[in-house]
């Protein structure tokens, strides 16, 4: 079974973001970029399926600017066999990404596609579900465990009330939640080897799609700042403040 994994280049999750002074967007100049943490989990899961002999080939895909090839090389270093870069400088929203991925699913015919549940820049949480709709495949979102059983896939999902398990026919689309696995770090020799692994570059036009979004970004502002308050010296003082100052008790 071939497994396709979608990886997105985003700001490193440790970086404190800055909004541009003209409020047009978040400022990404000279900011550390990385693979979306949920995509690392998606890659790890695909690589583990290969190590278990269930997956035969792992193909990593990204849609984005030239620089996003860095994240594809990371995926290759982590164990993906080859990579596909759909290159564009447009602002790609989830629907555009899902359209590109849907075309690649048609071309590559994977048995399973794994994505992150959410990109930590837009916090959209949409692409996997959209890809499932566009390909007509079933979806197992927010997965904390997956098990391939013959032609079926069991997915344990993190839902608001606890955990839900569903069974999907394959091929299927899965989105990874935080507890699906703990991703490994790439080792230096693997990073070197990754440089020689195949990386195909295509454009949205090659795929016959457009990625531009009809959801326009009008303005980006910093959130209302929360001012830190005071330190209290004791439990008594805390209770007093909550009763008499904040009036929440």
């Amino acid at each position: 079974m071939k497994v396709l994994v979608a990886v997105k280049r985003v700001i490193d999750y440790n970086v404190k973001i800055r909004v541009k002074p003209d409020h047009s967007d978040v400022d990404l100049t000279n900011v550390k970029m990385a693979m979306n943490p949920f995509c690392e989990i998606a890659v790890e899961e695909a690589v583990r399926l290969k190590e278990k002999g269930i997956a035969t080939e792992v193909v990593a895909v990204t849609i984005g600017p030239k620089a996003a090839q860095e994240q594809l090389r990371t995926a290759l270093a982590l164990g993906a066999d080859r990579a596909i870069h759909v290159e564009t400088d447009e602002r790609v929203e989830s629907l555009g990404a899902a359209k590109a991925l849907a075309r690649l699913v048609e071309e590559e015919q994977p048995g399973l596609v794994i994505l992150g549940k959410q990109a930590i820049d837009t916090d959209n949480n949409q692409t996997g579900q959209m890809l499932a709709a566009l390909t007509g495949l079933p979806q197992g979102t927010f997965a904390s465990e997956i098990k391939v059983e013959g032609e079926k896939l069991q997915v344990t999902r993190e839902v608001d009330g606890g955990l839900q398990t569903v069974e999907l026919s394959l091929p299927a689309i899965v989105t990874a939640d935080l507890r699906l696995n703990e991703p490994r770090y790439a080792k230096l020799p693997d990073i070197m080897k990754a440089k020689k692994k195949p990386l195909d570059v295509k454009t949205p036009a090659d795929l016959g799609i457009e990625v531009a979004s009809k959801v326009k970004l009008l303005k980006v502002e910093p959130p209302a700042e929360r001012k830190g308050g005071v330190k209290v010296g004791s439990v008594d003082e805390l209770i007093d403040k909550l009763k008499n100052e904040a009036k929440v008790l």
Binding site: Q164, P223, I239
Partner: protein
Amino acid sequence: MSILVLAEHHDGALAGATAHVVAAAQAIGGDIDILVAGEGVGAIAEAAAKLDGVSRVRVADHAAYAHLLAEPTAALIAELAGDYTHLLACASTTGKNVLPRVAALKDVGQISEIISVESPDTFKRPIYAGNAIATVQSEDALKVITVRATGFDAVGEGGSAAIEAVDFVADNAQSTFVKEELAKSDRPELGAAKVVISGGRGMGSGENFTLLDGIADKLGAAIGASRAAVDAGFVPNDMQVGQTGKIVAPELYIAVGISGAIQHLAGMKDSKVIVAINKDEEAPIFQVADYGLVADLFQALPELEEKL
């Protein structure tokens, strides 16, 4: 304008979040219908019909919609979508699972987790874990939107909408429900509680979470947790507050043994009053806390419980 709101429900009852989503629909303006999908949902439909501002409750009561699996539920909503300019759902795990699938079936984008309505096509939503607020405008004919419940005050319950059955039954040979392990608790729901007390890695173990119980009992609070506490296996995943867990905005949020990573703050910094109890006076949580107590939680919690 005409708006369809997907009702959120659990254990045979309409979830409180639905009244917040209807409030967002009212802010957009126009006719508001609610769709109640599920199996054996008659009582839920009746509860939905009481929400203020709703003209019609459409009920798809069929085994196909039990557990609201994404494939049939999205097919159902897409089938009804032609009657509407806006489709809304709560940004719950159900809404997040189903609505993007509907959007793609209709070839439109989705706007996730709005916190305000600027106009019928323009909305505000947090991005980058709430460290920036984006104003976005949809040029799609059909707007598909999930709503962050804490962004809108619930509508009242003085309505009496008409209830109508929907006959459409979606085929689904692709997915089946296997089982559910849901947390049972007598405490209020995290998203709806007036007071939330959360424990982090500093709690040290699952047993130590019982230190929060007595306080939660006295305050009628829900109990939450940081991701580190969930990952360490102290408590189940449904208790996680944050960017990728639950979003809460209670009157009072008490963070105990939580450092205050941005991903945690994303889920609670809109709380009215924040209290932090942490033994490290440099912990970033103190930068957002209204009242910070630098103390060892193993001493502070029993004292707090006793004195409340």
